[in-house]
Symmetry: C3
Subunit: 284 residues, 3 copies
């Protein structure tokens, strides 16, 4: 895709969602559900969070996209998650996977191992999570190392190979979030700039980003959906951090900015940095 | 009731709650618990959210009112909800039912069908939910049609017959929330105006409204409780939307306004619109 | 400890947490998880909320501290909580216990009775909860009386004997939150002033305080950790209430203030009141 094609696809995705108010239901952690739902609504989408296996199955059949975040697994997730993902695949419903807490328990590991067969449309995580998932799926060498619950202990750049391996395997998109954000479909590799350090001082911006990616899956390819949500978060975060410098106010301004961004803003201010070797001529 | 009697009863309910700080415990969805609790506190009430069947039974015996919202059903709700409702009836504790997600699963349908025998003091929902519940309880003809999870796909006016049928059946009150809000006890029919389009851009205002209705059930009849909460939300929403135009700021200003409204404000600014045929001479 | 030693220890704890970004995972209620996590992040810590027994066991082994709040018990807590606490003890991981809802059900009572053998580093609660726990553990005489769910019906001063009895038993610290806050390790007894009446108009400030105490357990003794979190909440609450006078804005300003307080602020503005007999010469 050329730069112009990417900008145009992003603009179209933003517009479509604002017009159609699509719902991307979620199985997601209890800590950040409010933030995820409000972010989904702010960009023009609609939200519903679910726990029951049969409800996830039935809504996966009619929803245009889905979001799965394993942040606060409960015992019944052992039934809910596999059934939901099975239904998503049967209905070819696109979905975003956020492998939060990968490695914390055998329940999570078992479920995430099963997910290998169900190729999520987008895998979104911090560097540690992306590396851990690529190892779990046997796509990169497991040289040991630890994952620290929900926080990243790795730089985004360190997850590049893992992200590309995952994207090549799924044939869809992978997004690594951090100070900069790396988005790839296994061929294109884009490193996005923007955002704010204040994202690390509030809880759930990663979850909200995953939930918004699922909203854009209703209107664009996985790669464009991941890119659209990523650049919107970066732009809204930059704007909010220019207005306030403390975390709770930042969260309010961030959501407000997410709501106010126009399709033109998003597409025109989409910024790429070229610090990775594969980027040198991307927008050259 | 005359207009003067209604305004006086609303004023009294607002005052009583601010004086007595009554608690209305909830079984409610995990997404919006924070919003529900903060709205209940803002009007002067107190909050507690519960999941365990025996805790709901024991608190239903001592609480002056209760709120049940089925938004994010979990497997153990199959035991918790029927036991809670049984205890509420045994103790004649008034309660508000929010039939969110009606039709999504057999668990929800089974429980909501059982609730027919336990006549909630207030049923609050959007138009789609009210219509679906009236159909499930066999009170209006089921001509098919779909309910879309948590969002309304119907206009408030389309739920008028369903709301009246439900209210006649329970002998209590029903509130349909939307761009305008319809409140009925089966005899009186009031359509309230106000609020803001921004309510649709934040998650949980319907849940918060149901939770606040439960607070007013401690101080007024179901009809007055539903009316008081509805007009407070409309007034606070109108005020907030006059101050800010983006959703996250709107939510903060809305809760602040809910806290600041006086009993006189609420009773005097209570606005009714007469666009439905039965309204023509209501406040004439 | 002298006043100077206490101020110095508080200052050090604030600095250490901002530098090291320690994680205190939680088993905590679903209503206020967002507030707890954001408060933990605002002071420089890191958050993770968990439900599964084996996850709690494995994270208790590596986390530097832990927070347990029983606000919204779910059926599987019967397994999760005892296993978590067992793992905390085996690994000598310090933890804060918030006995919310004590007395509401046999599940809570059974679990809290078991906790007597596992001596929490800090017990934090309102006066009613502290009295109820001291009675449940047989440390003070049970003359009857009621606990009202999550709200305190008792004055802080009425819980003084219970708090001291609990602290003598655990050999660690107990904090009673209310209009004033009492912190004791069984020997030192400090009554802190500050805060704002607005804390009672938002949900979860007690939970957030408990969660932040757990963060400071990674950097200080239980007594200093409880004192540091208490004075930070009082100072940030006073500051926020000087800026705004409505609850939702207060919550935003409070979290922002928590983030902005420096170690010097916290240590120098640490205010003690001497209204209890044991206090007369504390800072004399």
């Amino acid at each position: 895709m050329t730069e112009t094609e990417i900008r145009s696809a992003i603009s179209q995705a933003v517009k479509d969602v604002r017009e159609k108010n699509p719902m991307a239901p979620s199985i997601t952690n209890t800590v950040t559900q409010d933030f995820v739902a409000n972010a989904q609504l702010a960009v023009g989408g609609s939200a519903a969070m679910l726990y029951l296996a049969d409800e996830c199955e039935s809504i996966a059949k009619i929803a245009p996209a889905f979001y799965i975040n394993m942040g606060t697994a409960m015992p019944f997730y052992a039934e809910t998650l596999p059934k939901a993902v099975q239904a998503l695949q049967s209905n070819q419903t696109p979905w975003t996977l956020d492998p939060v807490g990968i490695g914390l328990s055998s329940l999570r590991t078992d479920i995430l191992r099963q997910f290998k067969n169900f190729k999520p449309s987008i895998v979104r995580g911090n560097a540690s999570e992306i590396i851990a998932l690529a190892k779990l799926w046997g796509l990169i060498e497991d040289s040991g190392g630890q994952v620290r619950g929900v926080d990243s202990t790795e730089k985004v750049s360190s997850a590049k190979a893992a992200a590309i391996a995952l994207a090549k395997f799924t044939g869809r998109a992978v997004a690594v979030s951090g100070e900069e954000d790396f988005v790839t479909d296994g061929k294109e590799e884009i490193l996005c700039a923007g955002g704010s350090e204040l994202f690390t001082k509030i809880t759930g911006s990663g979850c909200a980003l995953g939930g918004v990616m699922a909203i854009y899956l209703t209107a664009a390819s996985p790669f464009i959906a991941a890119l659209t949500a990523t650049t919107m978060f970066n732009q809204a975060g930059t704007k909010a951090a220019a207005e306030v410098s403390t975390p709770a106010s930042f969260k309010v301004h961030f959501l407000d900015s997410l709501y106010s961004l126009t399709a033109d803003d998003v597409a025109n201010n989409f910024r790429v940095v070229g610090s990775m070797e594969t980027m040198f001529d991307f927008f050259g």
